[in-house]
């Protein structure tokens, strides 16, 4: 079973990765972080974090605001370079950044063409089907899309490159309940449609979102992993907590004490 270990306190025991910020590591785990830390000025956004994310699962990354979720996911996506430690991810990774950024002046069709231009294994048919399923007008400029539509566009771009690992950073944080439901369903559908056992890692500060689609849970707080494991086993040994939400809150409280 994939385990976790995050010690408090960081004292430069781990050599920062001086070469590539992300090593490619095609084994059973989708992500493996070892002594991973990221510091901004004097503040550690993520501290001495060791964790593995199993391949072939939909993994929820839960934690309060400022827990280090975005830092961890951007390290995995290669957008950030670790201050300490190493992180290894599957070679082909799709990433949807927080807020689903898109080029306001480019149309939906332009974005799909961009995906094709920038990715070796682009699936144009899949991209068109995804865009159609999301109800996206190809001629519409991204700047005029609603938040929900932009999130679907970003998901389309990330899925059509046929990634082994799909990372979604707070994809539904700013969406209304209906758009939120549609987005999560489209993620589930995209995973089901791919026959390659895509791993999805998706962060949220709401346990309910995670519970709906995830089979594996990681709780992050204060830049450290607090709890990790398959949802079923976490619920089986839930220490008398009534729901997953209560379990997560219990672990977050235990830490702050």
């Amino acid at each position: 079973m994939p385990g976790f270990r995050c010690q408090p306190g960081v004292g430069g025991r781990h050599r920062a990765d001086t070469g590539r910020s992300v090593d490619l590591w095609p084994v059973d785990n989708a992500i493996e972080a070892n002594g991973l830390g990221k510091r901004y000025g004097r503040r550690w956004a993520l501290a001495d974090c060791t964790l593995t994310v199993p391949a072939g699962q939909v993994v929820g990354l839960v934690g309060p605001n400022g827990a280090g979720k975005t830092t961890l996911l951007e390290l995995a996506a290669g957008l950030l370079r670790p201050t300490t430690g190493t992180i290894r991810v599957r070679p082909r990774t799709g990433f949807v950044a927080q807020g689903a950024p898109a080029y306001a002046g480019l149309s939906v069709a332009d974005h799909l063409r961009m995906g094709q231009a920038l990715n070796a294994r682009w699936d144009a048919g899949l991209a068109r089907r995804q865009a159609a399923a999301a109800g996206l007008d190809l001629r519409q400029r991204a700047g005029r899309l609603s938040g929900g539509q932009r999130a679907r566009l970003a998901l389309t771009l990330a899925v059509a490159k046929r990634p082994e690992l799909l990372i979604l950073d707070e994809p539904v944080a700013n969406l209304d309940p209906l758009a939120r439901r549609e987005f999560l369903d489209s993620v589930a559908a995209a995973v089901a449609a791919s026959d390659e056992g895509t791993t999805v890692v998706f962060s949220s500060h709401l346990v309910a979102d995670v519970e709906r689609v995830c089979g594996y849970l990681i709780v992050l707080a204060g830049g450290e992993v607090r709890l990790a494991g398959p949802l079923s086993s976490l619920l089986a040994g839930r220490d008398g907590q009534r729901s997953l939400d209560d379990l997560v809150v219990f672990h977050l409280r235990e830490v702050t004490r």
């Binding site: 957008l79 370079r81 990433f95 927080q98 950024p101 080029y103 480019l106 231009a117 990715n119 070796a120």
Partner: protein, 320 residues
């Protein structure tokens, strides 16, 4: 990939191109005879590279960092460096092409006036090929400051300031000596040498003898000095000792205002006495060096632009 880079540069490039075409049409309609129009067109050629560097170069990466779209662009299969290289190439070439077109047009438009003026080096910065080098340099400078400052507006301001400083410093310190100037020794001519102050207003040195410009059409005279046989420059005290009373009247010499005949005679008499021990030494770039200097300066700026582009590639890998 090239398509994407062009798609992202298209709007600004077409705006700049439209502006150039509008100026060209207006200038042709106005006719090719007015030296004031020529001055404005030259100023436009001088300003264009910096403006393009600020408006096309500075936002190239800074806007991506500000809008968060770098998280989209840099998480695709194509590496950051390759992404940047193509965007630098396409947008940079667009910037150079717009500047080149403007410079080519102004060079053609001002041709008759320039040839009549016999002062080709006077408009060196605003004609022919060098503006293309300035455009490449300003563009790469803008991209680099966008990467360093991570904010579009400050990067635009710093780009304009640094580009202007580099251009002025290069013009004053480097261009005169890019090719070793030709040195000529001439006898002082009492008929064409006056007395007065020279230099720009904040730096007016003491008044001295002022030889008239030598008759070197289309050449660039980079320095004029009056020295004796040992190469020592004429000092104010030597001048005062040799010619007591010089400059006490109401002026004289070759100025536009006709001086009293007495003062003219006194000045000519003085120059004749000075000329016994001193002569004039000028350094210049002859007319035939115009094109070698154009190509040389173009290459220097293009090389600097390539170095800046390499710095951008190094820097973009270290963002985050």
């Amino acid at each position: 990939m090239t398509w994407l880079a062009w798609r992202q540069a298209r709007a600004q490039t077409l705006i700049a191109l439209t502006a150039v075409l509008a100026v060209a049409v207006a200038a042709v309609i106005a006719g090719r005879t007015d030296t004031t129009h020529r001055m404005w067109l030259s100023a436009l050629v001088v300003a264009a590279p910096g403006l393009l560097g600020a408006f096309l170069g500075a936002p190239l990466v800074a806007a991506e960092l500000e809008n968060g779209t770098f998280r989209l662009a840099w998480t695709q299969d194509v590496s950051r460096v390759r992404w940047l290289a193509l965007r630098l190439a396409v947008t940079g070439l667009a910037s150079m092409a717009v500047t080149g077109l403007l410079s080519w047009f102004v060079t053609w438009w001002a041709g008759p006036l320039d040839r009549a003026g016999l002062d080709q080096f006077g408009s060196f910065d605003a004609r022919d090929v060098v503006p293309v080098g300035y455009a490449a340099f300003a563009f790469a400078l803008g991209v680099l400051y966008g990467l360093l400052l991570r904010a579009t507006v400050p990067a635009m301001a710093v780009t304009l300031a640094v580009f202007t400083a580099v251009r002025v410093a290069f013009r004053l310190l480097a261009r005169p000596v890019l090719l070793t100037p030709v040195t000529r020794a001439l006898a002082l001519n009492p008929a064409t040498t006056g007395y007065g102050a020279s230099g720009f207003l904040p730096f007016v040195p003491g008044s001295s003898l002022q030889p008239a410009a030598p008759d070197l059409p289309d050449a660039w005279v980079t320095s004029v000095a009056i020295v004796n046989g040992k190469g020592i420059a004429l000092t104010g005290s030597v001048l005062a000792r040799t010619c007591p009373g010089l400059g006490q009247g109401r002026g004289g010499g070759t100025g536009h205002v006709q001086a009293p005949q007495g003062a003219v005679n006194a000045t000519q008499d003085c120059v004749a006495r000075i000329a016994a021990a001193y002569h004039e030494v000028i350094t210049d770039q002859p007319a035939g060096r115009y094109w070698p200097l154009q190509w040389y300066e173009l290459c220097v700026y293009l090389a600097a632009a390539l170095l800046l582009a390499a710095a951008c590639a190094w820097r973009v890998r270290r963002v985050g």
